[in-house]
């Protein structure tokens, strides 16, 4: 990866000290293109839709709704969905409820480490409009200012069935190739980064966490 600090293809990483900058990759991510053969892309989308691995990172109280889905009553593994403990291997990030500024930083780090295509489901009212925490000093109100959201499930809290329905709809969207949140993020990276840095005051990480 490039260590050149002045090029258009690199990130500034100004939140890090000069010594630390040498430790991190500073390349700017690029949007990916679909496979040129349509049948290959369709097959890949079908495989992606039928094997969704959810990052095991409960960011708020709504993530408690994930547990019934995993166990005997709903058994989400029937649909090819499994929990995955590491962001490197997972493809779905479920934002479980309110997002405090402190958590947002961790969410960004985890999301950027996931490998594309990656999808975000925003669960509950709080990521959509702040919900009952709309006037809180330390939670954000509108999550898609900071990361691209593919599917919303509103409610406080939503039932597990609602989340299951959202995942099913996400699968249909992936199959037809509509879910391109990861590309939207990379194409509008400067806008997203500006929004993120507006709320995260102690930005002591690289601009893009490879």
């Amino acid at each position: 990866m490039s260590k050149d600090r002045s090029s258009k293809n690199t990130m500034e990483n100004s939140g890090l000290s000069a010594d630390e900058q040498l430790l991190f990759c500073n390349a700017r991510p690029e949007p990916y293109k679909p496979y040129s053969i349509k049948a290959v892309e369709d097959f890949a989308n079908w495989a992606r839709a039928n094997s969704l691995w959810i990052l095991a990172f409960g960011t708020g109280c709504c993530s408690i709704e994930l547990r019934p889905l995993m166990t005997a009553r709903f058994d989400i593994s029937r649909f090819g969905i499994a929990g995955r403990p590491t962001p490197r291997q997972s493809s779905v990030f479920i934002i479980g409820g309110y997002v405090s500024v402190k958590t947002l930083k961790r969410i960004i780090r985890s999301y950027e480490q996931m490998q594309g295509p990656k999808f975000i489901i925003a669960l509950g009212s709080c990521p959509a409009n702040g919900g009952m925490y709309f006037d809180s000093y330390n939670t954000i109100n509108q999550f898609d200012l900071y990361l691209p959201v593919d599917m919303y499930v509103t409610g406080c809290m939503p039932r597990p069935e609602a989340l299951l329905a959202a995942i099913m709809e996400l699968k249909e969207d992936i199959k037809v190739g509509n879910c391109d949140g990861a590309n939207r993020y990379v194409e509008n990276l400067d806008w997203y980064k500006a929004n993120q840095k507006k709320v995260i005051k102690n930005w002591d990480m690289p601009d893009y966490n490879w």
Partner: protein, 311 residues
């Protein structure tokens, strides 16, 4: 081994490719079946049988991948080379020219070497990823491997003495002619030691501390993703099925057809599954102590048994 012609050599390689394909697909299907059995125990339905194949396609078709260096690339390659190498020297179907692979005199040593090789390659690759949980997983996995290799090696030495050969084909040949000739009957002490070691080899609980999804995010392969991970997934199925075939050959009389092979290997695998769903996880020090105590003693007893009783 000397081949009469180039075309014969290509034929052997082609046959091995076919064996490799069958064993890998079988390993993936058995993996799905086992997942479904575990799910039934927990009152769930479980994954579809096609799920392991879809997972591999999914990880293979990921659009991005980051690298941590050359060893990081080579880790999965070494791992799958270990899996293929292990299978290459095991005769899968007894009496079949086609599915004997590259079995030869002394292949048992090569097989045991290759079983080590993959794990060590993986340790190097995962080490370069730089993730602290990878390092913890490797430390635990390798120490557990050292522990279960002791009873396994003792059991292998015991049957090598018993049959006076290092060729797996000859060991299988000596067990033909009915179940009363199987090693599990003639040398049950060695089989017991090896089956206890087998529990550690499969990595189900109580010996799954090195994977530990909740505590150290799945251990050594934490950083592996995209196509690297699809290699590891393929190898997991291939290597798992290969170990089953090896155990079937050494202790349960081998197989003369694919149906016999599938029934026998599934039953051997069920031993690990029944223990796995029934017992909670050992800590790494408890696991190592376990292997160094009773299974090792049984392994030593099996050598004594061969020398005193069978000689």
């Amino acid at each position: 081994m000397i081949y009469a012609s180039m075309s014969e050599w290509f034929g052997r390689v082609g046959n091995f490719g076919l064996t490799l394909l069958i064993v890998t697909v079988y390993g993936l299907l058995v993996g799905a079946l086992i997942e479904r059995i575990i799910a039934k125990v927990q009152g769930r339905v479980g994954i579809p049988y096609s799920q392991p194949f879809i997972n591999i396609a999914k990880t293979f078709f990921k659009r991005t991948a980051v690298s941590h260096g050359i060893m990081f690339y080579l880790g999965p390659v070494f791992r799958i080379a270990g899996g293929i190498g292990t299978l290459a020297f095991i005769p899968v179907i007894y009496g079949s020219e086609m599915f004997s692979n590259f079995s030869m005199a002394g292949d048992l040593f090569l097989v045991i070497y290759f079983m080590f090789f993959g794990q060590l390659g993986m340790a190097l690759g995962a080490g370069e990823s730089g993730h602290p949980y990878s390092a913890i997983g490797i430390a635990r996995g390798l120490s557990q491997m050292t522990a279960y290799e002791v009873p396994f090696a003792l059991a292998v030495i015991s049957i090598v003495i018993q049959y006076d050969t290092l060729s797996i084909t000859e060991i299988v040949a000596a067990q033909q002619g009915g179940w009363q000739n199987w090693t599990v009957i003639t040398n049950w002490v060695a089989t017991l030691a090896a089956m206890l070691a087998f529990l550690g080899m499969t990595g189900y609980s109580p010996f799954d501390i090195f994977l530990a999804p909740q505590e150290i995010p799945i251990g050594p392969p934490t950083e592996f993703h995209s196509a690297y991970l699809s290699f590891l997934q393929i190898n997991r199925a291939l290597f798992g099925a290969t170990k089953l075939v090896l155990f079937m050959n050494l202790f349960f009389g081998g197989a003369t057809g694919w149906v016999e092979l599938m029934i026998k290997t599934l039953l051997i695998y069920m031993v690990a599954i029944v223990v796995g769903v029934a017992f909670p996880r050992f800590r790494v020090d408890q696991g190592i102590r376990f292997f160094f105590k009773i299974p090792t003693l049984i392994g030593i007893m099996s050598i004594v048994y061969v020398q005193m009783v069978l000689a």
